[in-house]
Symmetry: C2
Subunit: 336 residues, 2 copies
């Protein structure tokens, strides 16, 4: 029973996550029950929704309790097994197993990670994990871009946004991304976006006017606030807004809705909030399209790997400052 390091939520953050909001504590792992496996976690996924889980907001999952291990998705390797489905050495998706070195999971709650030649393990924590599924369902089930339509993606250089935009592009739409800084915008153009707007250095409204002369048919919304309002002000009749996130507001008390709701009425806009867990029963649909695109290199993605579980808290704040380059992961242990 190895010693386990665990990040414990000790108080609810106010605004940005501060050093004392979580504490790294040590505890021994317990013995396995029948059907359980001991997983040594390899990669931890850091996602904007983590900030919501730390709050006492009525979200799509209950808040993490004070004194509990922080919730988070991991991929790991089986070290011990009392399951017939898994043996030591198997690489598995451990689900929301938490910010810790080891987790114990029941065989019913964990899934093997498939091997695809040329596709690294980190892909299954990003483009072929919840991130890619979020992008695919938000774009294909709600946004439904048609060939020739104009799609705008906010936080477009982010893990979800960059994939969402490429999916729309692969489906024949014209795609404009909004991101912070010239490097991110250059990368968006490199991976095939038709245009990129640097919200830190450009007037977003004026840039949208220039880059979307026929208005906007699909808004893949990750941000909220002023950027969202600039997009909505240019959304066309019968356009769709896939509401994936409101990251600009997660450190605030309340996220305000569209400033001009009359336009939602007059332009008959569809707005739909979604959370990826709703779509997990349909994950195969997305995976069937995403996996070949990833294997062939048509769909580009990046992981930003921070080494060491002890650096998870410092790393998670990068999601809100934009100071990361690709899907943010923590490497808890080296791949076997």
């Amino acid at each position: 029973m190895p010693l386990n390091r665990q990040w414990i939520l000790t108080r609810r953050p106010e605004g940005e996550i501060a050093a004392g909001d979580l504490e790294l504590r040590e505890a021994p792992t317990r013995a396995l029950e029948p059907g359980e496996v001991l997983i040594r976690n390899l990669y931890l996924s850091l996602d904007p929704t983590n900030r919501i889980w730390m709050s006492d907001q009525d979200g799509y999952l209950p808040p993490v309790g004070i004194g509990e291990v922080m919730r988070g998705g991991t991929i790991g390797v089986i070290e011990e097994s009392r399951s017939d489905r898994f043996k030591p050495g198997d690489i598995v998706n451990a689900g929301l197993s938490g910010w810790q070195d080891y987790s114990i999971g029941h065989e019913a709650m964990i899934n093997p990670v498939p091997q695809i030649p040329g596709v690294p393990l980190t892909a299954f924590m990003s483009v072929l994990g919840a991130t890619g599924l979020t992008a695919w369902f938000g774009m294909m089930d709600i946004g439904r871009p048609q060939p020739g339509e104009t799609v705008v993606v906010s936080a477009a250089a982010g893990a979800v946004g960059s994939i969402a935009g490429q999916i729309a592009k692969l489906k024949g739409a014209r795609v404009i991304g909004i991101a912070g800084g010239p490097e991110k915008c250059a990368w968006l153009r490199e991976i095939g976006f038709d245009g990129a707007i640097d919200y830190k250095n450009e007037d977003v409204g004026a840039a949208l006017d220039r880059l979307c002369p026929n208005g906007i048919d699909v808004n893949f919304e990750n941000v909220g606030g002023d950027i969202m309002n600039a997009v909505i002000a240019r959304m066309n009749t019968f356009s769709r807004m896939s509401l994936c996130g409101l990251i600009s507001t997660y450190n605030a008390d309340v996220a305000a809705g569209p400033a001009d709701f009359g336009r939602v009425l007059m332009k008959r806009i569809l707005i739909k909030g979604f959370i990826i867990i709703d779509y997990l029963p349909r994950a195969g649909e997305a995976f069937a399209e995403l996996a070949p695109w990833v294997a062939s290199g048509q769909l580009k993605w990046k992981a930003h790997v921070v080494d060491g579980l002890e650096n998870a808290v410092e790393a998670v704040n990068r999601l809100f400052t934009g100071d990361h380059d690709g899907k943010l992961l923590v490497r808890i242990a080296p791949e076997p």
Copy 2:
């Protein structure tokens, strides 16, 4: 060629519609071209959207031009015909023929009004006209209430709201209406609403908590503002908001969206703006269900008829003060 009285938009109203914003002027009608008919208008429909048409807002139809006849829907009787489809004496839906005694329409743009025993002509300006279609499509195509679900309708004693609520009730839902004043609330209970909230005399949030113990699955939104926010705050996961109107905001510059947009995301709420003209090609679907309900008396409706075209401007403001009892119509001329 009879003399025609026409309400002309002379300037754009600021806030409430004021006396000098429209002027009643006289002009002779012109001679008919082939295919045209001269219609003596009998009833004019007054609707909240009229206020939008008077503004310079980018709506679903262009603003009425300054110096033009005010736009409005009418039913009338054919006085002269150069069409093979219509003969003098026929009662027709004249479309958006305007606030005037006479209008000239092309046969392609007008439709006969069917005769249903026991159903008066005013029904075709309300429950079997655009009002009823608005209620039916907003409820059935967007709200989609399921048996046992909870539906909330704002401006529920209004022409659209009262029908929308009854449709949901006929479909097996539990229906709560929000209206202004004890008389309106009593009427809602009388026509079968499971509960009614008097927003002028009650705390809407507290009343919703009491009347919707299982939360809200469908919001048929007519009002916007604080009432909308009180409803959204109680909307369930996977609930639907049919955005039909924002009447509390039509005299304002901009209608603000939901105060708590994070809830739209977390609860995966669907919001869809709609305008009845989009559904006109499918009108038959709604009519097939509404007409038997009206003929059998299962669906209750009221018309509030103001006599005299000269009183149209005074009457239209009643839409915003709530000082009317049923679908607001102007009787331009007595039925033949």
